[in-house]
Subunit: 253 residues, 2 copies
Amino acid sequence: MLTKQELEEFWAEAGKIYLNHISIDCVVFGFHGGQMKVLMLKSNNEEAWYLPGGFVLKKEPIENAADRILKERTGIDEIFLQQFYVFGDPDRSKIHNEMYKDMLPEDQNFFAKRFISIGYYALVDFFNVIPTPDNFSEVCTWRDLNDLPRFQLDHELIFKTALDTLRLQLNYQPIGYNLMPKEFTMPELQKLYETILDKKLDRRNFQRRMLGFGILNKLETTRKGGAHKAPYLYSFDLENYQAALKEGLKSGW
Amino acid sequence: MLTKQELEEFWAEAGKIYLNHISIDCVVFGFHGGQMKVLMLKSNNEEAWYLPGGFVLKKEPIENAADRILKERTGIDEIFLQQFYVFGDPDRSKIHNEMYKDMLPEDQNFFAKRFISIGYYALVDFFNVIPTPDNFSEVCTWRDLNDLPRFQLDHELIFKTALDTLRLQLNYQPIGYNLMPKEFTMPELQKLYETILDKKLDRRNFQRRMLGFGILNKLETTRKGGAHKAPYLYSFDLENYQAALKEGLKSGW
DNA sequence: TTACAATTGTGTACCAATTACACCATGCAT
DNA sequence: ATGCATGGTGTAATTGGTACACAATTGTAA
C-alpha cells in the first residue's frame, strides 16, 4: 500500500495517464482442496474486501489493461480472461466519490468521478498464483466461495454476475483446462464441476461422458497415496478441447 | 441531420453533458417477410452505414442511455435491450478521431477522443418501429441480414458479435416474444428460429416442441388468404414464457 | 499374510427426449 | 368437384441421459 503522500501523488497523476470514468474489475477464480476460490483484496483501514481492479491507460486496449492488472496481482502472464458485463450505475461508486470529493477540484479529481466498470472473469491454476496487494491494500488472498467476506461498493454484484456467467459458459469455454493443474484425476475434475454447478453429479456417468468428449489424455501414471485404489491421471488434449468447445459440449450438465 | 453550424455547437457542448470516452452502439433486430433485419443509418456524404448509437449523460445509468437512444431512433418506449459486449480497442474510432482532430484543442474536443463502446442488442416488433435518422444522418432504415451494406468503423464486428450472442441466448431470452407481432402463426415463428439459427428445422417437431413448452396461447382465429389450409394464430403466454426462460428452454435447438 | 474398507473403473438396463416420417385436414384454384 | 400445397396430429426408431450393479485396486488392520 502506498503512503498517504504517495497516494496523493498518484491521484494527481491518474487523470493524466488513465482514461477517465473507466475502470476494470476482475473476478479471479481458482480451485483448491475441492473448493472454488476468489482472489480478493483488503486494506487494514477498512473492513470490506474488494476485487482486483484498475484503470485503462490512455492508449491501451482494454484486454491488455485487464492482463496488466492481473499480472500485477497474480504474477501470471498469459491469463485466461473473459469479459462478462459492464456495470454502469451512476451511483455504483458513490461512497468512494464522497471520500475523495474534497481532495482536488472536481475536473482534476480522477477518483471523484463516476466510474463505469468493465467486468472480466479469470480462470487460473491456483498453484501458479502469487497473490500481491495493490496500492490501496495490505492483504491480497484467496477467499473460499463458501465463506465470503463483506464486499465494497457493488463488488458483490460483480462477483455474482461473474459466477452466473461462469455457470452458463461451462460448456463453451475451456473452464476445466484453465482451472485444473496440468495433471489431475477424474474425481478431482468432477469436484470442480460439482463446485461450479453447486450440485452432485454421478461419478460413473461423469467419467463416461467426459471421456466421450475425447478431450482428455489418459496418462500411464496413477495418483498413489490415498488408502484406496489409485486413480489414473489425465491431462487435457488442448487441440481437441478447443475444437469441441467450438460446437459447445453437447447439451450441458 | 444537423447543419454544419449546429454540428459545431453540438461538438462544443457534448463534452460538458456526456461522459467522455464512452459511447453506446445498438444492434436493433427486427423480423419481416421471413427475413431478419437490422436498423442502420447513413449520411448522404458517406457511403458506409452505421449502427444507431449515442452517448451517456453525466448522471445517467447506461441502460437508460441505451433506452433513450433507441427511443429516438425507433419511437418505441419500452424496448427489449441486452448488453452483450464492450469494444475497447484504442484504434476502433481512429478514422473519426482523425476527421475531428483539428476542430478544437484536444482536451476540449469530445470527438477526437478515444471511445469505448458498450454494445446492446435490441429486439423489436418490426411494425412498431418508425426509423428516424440522427444528427449525423439522413437515412435510417432496415437492412436485410442477407444484403448488408459496408459498415463504418468497427460496426461490422459489433453487429456480428451481437448476432452470435443472439444465437447463444435463443434459449434464455424471450427472443420470440420480442420479435414477433402480437399474433402469429406457427410457420411464421418457425421461420424466425430458422433465420436466427440459419438452418432448417422440421416443421412437425418444431410445432410439437414449441407447444410443449406451454408458452403459447392458441387463438380461435386462423390466418386466411394463402391458397392453402389456414394456419391457427398464436400469441405468447408471457407469464409462462418468463417462467420457462428462467430454467432455459430445455436443451437448445 | 490375509481380510477388509474405501474408492476407482467398467458395463448394462431403463427412461426421456429428439428425430424421422406417415397420414389426414383444410382452403383456394381450376 | 378435384387437385395441390400447406397445416395439423400421430407413431416408430434412434439417441442420449440416468440409475444402478459389479469387479478391480490400494492401504490398513487383524
